[in-house]
Every structure is written in structure tokens, then in C-alpha cells.
């Protein structure tokens, strides 16, 4: 055997067990993680109760109570789904691209979404937006976004000449180009039409498009579950293409799979509440520093819960305490953007 010291078997396994640490750097670390996880779960549950019963003078859990809280529970469901999408998508995306200063929103398919919405209003007026609200159109829109992204990945990343950074840049540029087209069309709208469009352009939790929740929710859950099952592979992908290839992974294929799942999650979230650029980044950054581990199985749930608490908390505050509910997502975006700036300025290496 390797070791020069001969040790009795019982001794050996005891010694080994003492050295095992798993995903945490130390026992204290593990305890801290569990504490945070439980704390977040409690906070999330408390938030749910708070949102449902604030200013709800009906008898709790009576018929009338549920009726009043129906809208709220719908909002909570939307928040849960949106934060699930953004947290899982951003963490996986950052792992796949080996870069923590980036978010999947930058890739341009959200610009595609805005373009489609803008074009609908531009060509068909306000009724145009209504016109594209059918399920078929929803599917087409989602399919557009996902296929655009997947085409981009396969063209620029998975081939022999594939380069991740170039793919990212091209996605960004296409996004910018589409954005310019949208802005141009928006300018030509009359203010009424623009107002209606505006609601679609920004993440809007209070006014989410829940018509297709029956479709969106399962897709989100399945995609998130897929990422959860890939979590251990993500841990290895995070080590870079050379080490993960050395360890037996087909790095390119794994990244493609991850990117596709990311795209699906982002498309679902965008269809619910519109584009949100920095929520995922905010949540992922906090999750990394809070969990301080490489293990995605630990990071992902914390990221989701953090997102739920933050977005849900903001929703609660801005709906019931300060009446600015339309700007919930904008404020979260703003905070996320500021966090991004801080992280970028403090980073040592990219």
C-alpha cells in the first residue's frame, strides 16, 4: 500500500473517518450552513404567512380568506417560480462559463422577447399584444427564444472552433442590436401604446402573466430538477475544461446541456414577469459568499431561498408598506446592479 506506516485496520478506518470533510471546510462550517438553510426556510415560510394574512381581516383559512388571498398566493407562486428560475439559471451559467461576473440575461434572448412584444404593439397596436396572448403564440415566442439561444451555442461553442467568450460576446451583440431595433420602434409608438408595452418590458410581479402558469410551472420544476441532478457534474465542470476532461467529462457537451437548461429557465421566467437582469446575479453572489463551498447541491437551494426572501420581502414591503408595487423588480434590479458594481470593483482575478 502507499503509506509507509503500517496501521491496524480499525485504526485506519477511524483515522480516515476523522479526515473526511465533504463539501464543508470544517465542522463549524457545516453547522453554519445548516443554520443558514434553516433560517432561510423559516424566513420564507414566515413571509408566506405574512403576505397571505397581512390586512386580511377574514377568518384565517375560511373561504373568504382564501378568496382575498388568492391573488396574493398567485403572486407568491410567481415569485417562487421566478426566483427558482433565476437562481438556478445564474448559478449554473456562471459555473459553465467559469465566470462569476456574468448573468444569462446578457445573452440576448431577452432582447428577443422585448422585440417580439414591441413588434406586436408596433404593427398591431394594443390589440396586438392581446392578440399574441394565446397559448400558441406563447409557445412560439418561447420556442423562438430557446431555439435562438441553442442555435447560438451550437454555432459558436460546440464546434471544433468553439470559444465560449466569443459566443457570449456574439450573444451580447445580437442582444444589443435587437435592443436598438426595439428602441427605435418604441419611439414611434404613441404614449398610450408605450405605456402598455412598458408593463411588459420590466419584471412585474404584481401584474404577472399567469395565464399559462399551468404550463410554465411544470417546465420550470422539471428543468430545475434536471439541474439539481446535474449538480455533481456542475461541481466538476467548475474546475475548468482541462481538469473536467481529464476526469472523464465531455466538457463541451456538459456546457451545452447546462446552457440549454439555463435558456429554458430564463425563457419561462421572462414569459411570466418579463426580463430581469440582475436578480440572478445578486442572488448567486450572496449564495456563494454565504455558503462558501464548491458543492452546487448546497449552493442552489440557498440561492433559491435567498431569492424568494428578497423578492418576496420586497414585494411585501412595496405592496403593503410603501405603495410602489409596480417597481418591485426594478428596485431589486437596481440593488443587484449595485452589488454587481461592487463585486466587479473588488475582484482580484477574472
Amino acid at each position: 500500500m502507499l503509506s509507509d506506516v503500517s496501521v491496524s485496520p480499525a485504526h485506519a478506518s477511524a483515522a480516515v473517518r476523522d479526515r473526511r470533510i465533504g463539501a464543508y471546510a470544517s465542522r463549524a462550517h457545516r453547522a453554519r450552513y445548516l443554520l443558514i438553510l434553516i433560517g432561510l426556510i423559516v424566513a420564507a415560510l414566515a413571509l408566506v404567512v405574512l403576505v397571505l394574512s397581512w390586512d386580511n381581516h377574514q377568518v384565517p383559512f375560511s373561504d373568504r380568506w382564501w378568496r382575498v388571498s388568492r391573488m396574493r398566493s398567485e403572486s407568491l407562486t410567481v415569485i417562487a417560480l421566478v426566483t427558482l428560475c433565476h437562481s438556478f439559471a445564474t448559478v449554473s451559467f456562471q459555473t459553465a462559463t467559469n465566470n462569476r461576473i456574468i448573468t444569462p440575461s446578457i445573452m440576448g434572448f431577452e432582447s428577443l422577447y422585448i422585440l417580439i412584444q414591441t413588434a406586436a404593439v408596433f404593427f398591431f397596436g394594443i390589440s396586438g399584444l392581446v392578440g399574441i396572448d394565446g397559448f400558441a403564440q406563447f409557445l412560439i415566442q418561447t420556442a423562438c427564444m430557446v431555439s435562438f439561444a441553442v442555435l447560438l451555442y451550437s454555432w459558436l461553442f460546440s464546434g471544433r472552433l468553439g470559444n465560449l467568450h466569443i459566443m457570449l460576446l456574439v450573444g451580447i451583440i445580437i442582444g444589443t442590436g435587437l435592443g436598438a431595433l426595439s428602441t427605435f420602434m418604441q419611439r414611434m409608438l404613441d404614449p398610450n401604446e408605450f405605456d402598455v408595452l412598458r408593463a411588459r418590458m420590466f419584471g412585474n410581479v404584481g401584474n404577472a402573466d399567469t395565464d399559462f402558469l399551468w404550463f410554465v410551472a411544470p417546465v420550470c420544476l422539471v428543468s430545475a430538477a434536471a439541474i439539481w441532478m446535474l449538480a455533481r457534474r456542475l461541481d466538476t465542470v467548475a474546475l475548468g475544461s482541462e481538469i473536467s476532461t481529464n476526469l472523464g467529462l465531455n466538457h463541451k457537451r456538459q456546457v451545452m446541456i447546462i446552457l440549454t437548461l439555463v435558456t429554458i429557465l430564463m425563457a419561462m421566467s421572462t414569459s411570466l414577469v418579463g426580463p430581469m437582469t440582475f436578480l440572478g446575479f445578486l442572488v448567486a453572489t450572496l449564495a456563494y459568499s454565504v455558503t462558501d463551498t464548491y458543492s452546487h447541491r448546497r449552493i442552489l437551494p440557498v440561492a433559491w431561498l435567498l431569492g424568494f426572501v428578497i423578492l418576496g420581502g420586497a414585494y411585501f414591503l412595496l405592496r403593503h408598506v410603501l405603495p410602489m408595487v409596480d417597481t418591485v423588480t426594478i428596485i431589486v434590479e437596481l440593488v443587484g446592479g449595485v452589488v454587481f458594481l461592487i463585486v466587479v470593483l473588488r475582484k482580484g482575478r477574472l
Binding site: I166, I174, G177, F184, L334, G337, V344, L350
Partner: protein
């Protein structure tokens, strides 16, 4: 070769493209200058075309058509020249200073910062004069670009392709801040309007501030070499006798002035500072001194052609130049990236 090759792969730099160190055979002064002089003549022809393009007929001396010549056509054409040349030059300066091919005002957030400044002046001041607007835009652009440069210096980069990615994200954050503020004050639609670069509405009395960038252009021609040296890094620059910090501040200052003025008067001209210097280097190699006039001319050409397309496409209406430029610029940017792929491929 392994380490040299690795360098080639991980630093896709502007100024060290293999195989472009060409030195043309020694020819007479006239023959050497011939391409440039031809280009100048062609440019003059293009600009004349620009003066004559439009809805009104300016050769009409009986009616009022001819008045447009000096009210809108010539000012517009002059604005095209100044804006095109100066934004191209701003991109060149930034690329020299960062030794990165993809850096320019619209990919590192400079224009977004200028836009934020502009927005704030409209909100905070009752009727901001154009001078105030420009000054604030310049100050904001200066601060923002400096922050980005500081960030670049503190961070070790494994690939220079990361720089524009981060820069664009940076710009996106500032843009989000502007959007939020604009939403609060219900200025979102107008913000979009200001930001979209357009030469419509440029007329005598409104475009004069652009001459400032002309002055900047002259300054740049004089001090261009310093930016190249500064781009080689603080140590090399100091060793060469340059005050590094001062040169960086000067460069960022000049870029901010240009960006601030152009953003306020015209709006955002996306990708211009990126594609012009790259196109010129691709064709002519990397001799800065002789490239400067070509950068100016190419900048003028691209902006003028895009503007002409915008004027003609849906006559009598106009497509703003930022849209045409955005479309053309993104295609060229993507083509440049694809070319990079070949040299990076492993």
C-alpha cells in the same frame, strides 16, 4: 513555442497581429500619399452627396429649397464628419491604452454614463442649456470610464475577450439605473429618443458644440504616441519617461469630452469606435502615425453612409443612424469575432 503560442491564444490583442508588420517599399512622396489623397477626394464626393440628399430640393433657387443648404444640409454633413471622425478616434485611443481590440465608448459603459448624466440634468435643472448638459455628460462619462480603467488595472485577465463582456455588463447596470430613474419621472420614452443617435434635426445653431470634438481631434493627433506607450503598461511607460497617470487621465478625459458632446448633440453611435480602428488595422497593419488619417476618414465614411441609408430607406421619413449603425456595427463586430476564432482555435 508553447508559451508564445499560449500568449497568442490568451491575448487577442489589437497591436500584435501576426504578419501585419508590413513596410511598403520606398516610393516617391506623391505615390506614397496617393491612396490617402484618393480617399480624401472620394470622401469629399461622399459628403457632397450627403449635402444633396434629402427631401427638399436645394438646387431650387426660385423657391425656398436652396435655403436648406445652409440651414440643415451643410450643418448635418459637418456634424457627420465631426461625430464620425471623433467617435472613431475615441475608440482608437481606448484601444491603444488598454491594448484590447474590443474596447470603445459603447462597450465599456462610457455612453451609458453620459446618458445618465444627461438624464439627471433634465430632472434636476429646469431648462438646462446645452452647455450645462454637455458638461455634466462629460463629467459623468469621465468618472465612469475612469472606474472601468481602474478595474482593468486591478484585475488579471486570462482572456482579453472578457473585457468587452464586463464592459457591456457594466454599461447595462448604468443603463438600468438610468431606466429606473426615467421610469420614476416618466421620461422613459424620451430617454430612448435622446439616446438613439440621429442626425435629424441637426441644423445651424444646434450643432456648433460639435466643433469642440474637432479641437480634441487635433490634440489627439499631437499626443497619439503617448497613448501607445501608456498602453504597454505602467512600468514600460514610466521607464520610457512618461507620466503614466497623467497620460491615462488625459486619454480618458479626451474620450469623455468626445463621448459627452456627441451623446448630447447626436446621441449614441454604437460600435463606431470599435469597427473603424479594427477595419483600418486589418487592412493597413498597425502603424499608428499613418493610420490616424485613415481612422478619421473611415469613421466619416461609415457614419455618412449609414446616415444616407437612413435618409433614403423610408423617405420622407428617416431611420435614425444609431439603428443602421447598430445593425451594421453588430454584423462587423461579429465578423471580427469570428475571425478571431480562427486564431484562437486549439
Amino acid at each position: 513555442m508553447s508559451s508564445a503560442l499560449r500568449t497568442r491564444i490568451t491575448h487577442v490583442d489589437a497591436l500584435s497581429r501576426p504578419g501585419t508588420a508590413r513596410r511598403p517599399p520606398h516610393r516617391s512622396w506623391l505615390r506614397r500619399r496617393l491612396p490617402l489623397m484618393t480617399a480624401i477626394v472620394l470622401t469629399a464626393a461622399l459628403l457632397t452627396l450627403s449635402v444633396f440628399t434629402g427631401v427638399a430640393d436645394i438646387t431650387d433657387t426660385t423657391g425656398r429649397g436652396h435655403e436648406f443648404t445652409w440651414i440643415t444640409r451643410v450643418p448635418r454633413t459637418v456634424a457627420l464628419v465631426l461625430a464620425g471622425a471623433s467617435m472613431a478616434m475615441a475608440g482608437l485611443i481606448m484601444q491603444l491604452m488598454t491594448q484590447n481590440r474590443f474596447v470603445e465608448p459603447t462597450t465599456v459603459g462610457t455612453t451609458e454614463w453620459a446618458g445618465l448624466g444627461l438624464l439627471l440634468t433634465y430632472i434636476l435643472l429646469p431648462m438646462p442649456s446645452i452647455t450645462v448638459r454637455m458638461v455634466v455628460a462629460i463629467v459623468f462619462a469621465f468618472a465612469g470610464t475612469l472606474i472601468f480603467f481602474l478595474f482593468l488595472r486591478r484585475v488579471t485577465l486570462r482572456s482579453s475577450l472578457i473585457v468587452p463582456i464586463i464592459g457591456i455588463m457594466f454599461g447595462a447596470v448604468i443603463s438600468a439605473v438610468s431606466t429606473f430613474i426615467a421610469l420614476e419621472f416618466d421620461l422613459l420614452q424620451t430617454l430612448g429618443a435622446w439616446f438613439a443617435g440621429r442626425f435629424t434635426g441637426i441644423e445651424a445653431g444646434r450643432y456648433e458644440p460639435l466643433w469642440i470634438v474637432g479641437v480634441v481631434a487635433v490634440i489627439v493627433v499631437i499626443v497619439a504616441d503617448r497613448f501607445t506607450v501608456a498602453g504597454l503598461g505602467k512600468d514600460v511607460a514610466t521607464n520610457a519617461g512618461l507620466n503614466y497617470e497623467r497620460v491615462v487621465l488625459l486619454g480618458v478625459g479626451l474620450v469623455s469630452i468626445v463621448t459627452g458632446v456627441v451623446t448630447v448633440v447626436i446621441g449614441s453611435l454604437p460600435f463606431l469606435g470599435l469597427i473603424v480602428p479594427n477595419l483600418v488595422s486589418m487592412i493597413r497593419g498597425d502603424n499608428l502615425r499613418t493610420n490616424i488619417p485613415w481612422v478619421f476618414l473611415t469613421g466619416i465614411w461609415i457614419v455618412t453612409v449609414c446616415d444616407l441609408i437612413g435618409r433614403v430607406l423610408i423617405m420622407p421619413f428617416e431611420v435614425p443612424v444609431s439603428l443602421v449603425l447598430g445593425a451594421v456595427g453588430s454584423v462587423v463586430f461579429i465578423l471580427l469575432l469570428l475571425r478571431t476564432r480562427r486564431s484562437v482555435a486549439l
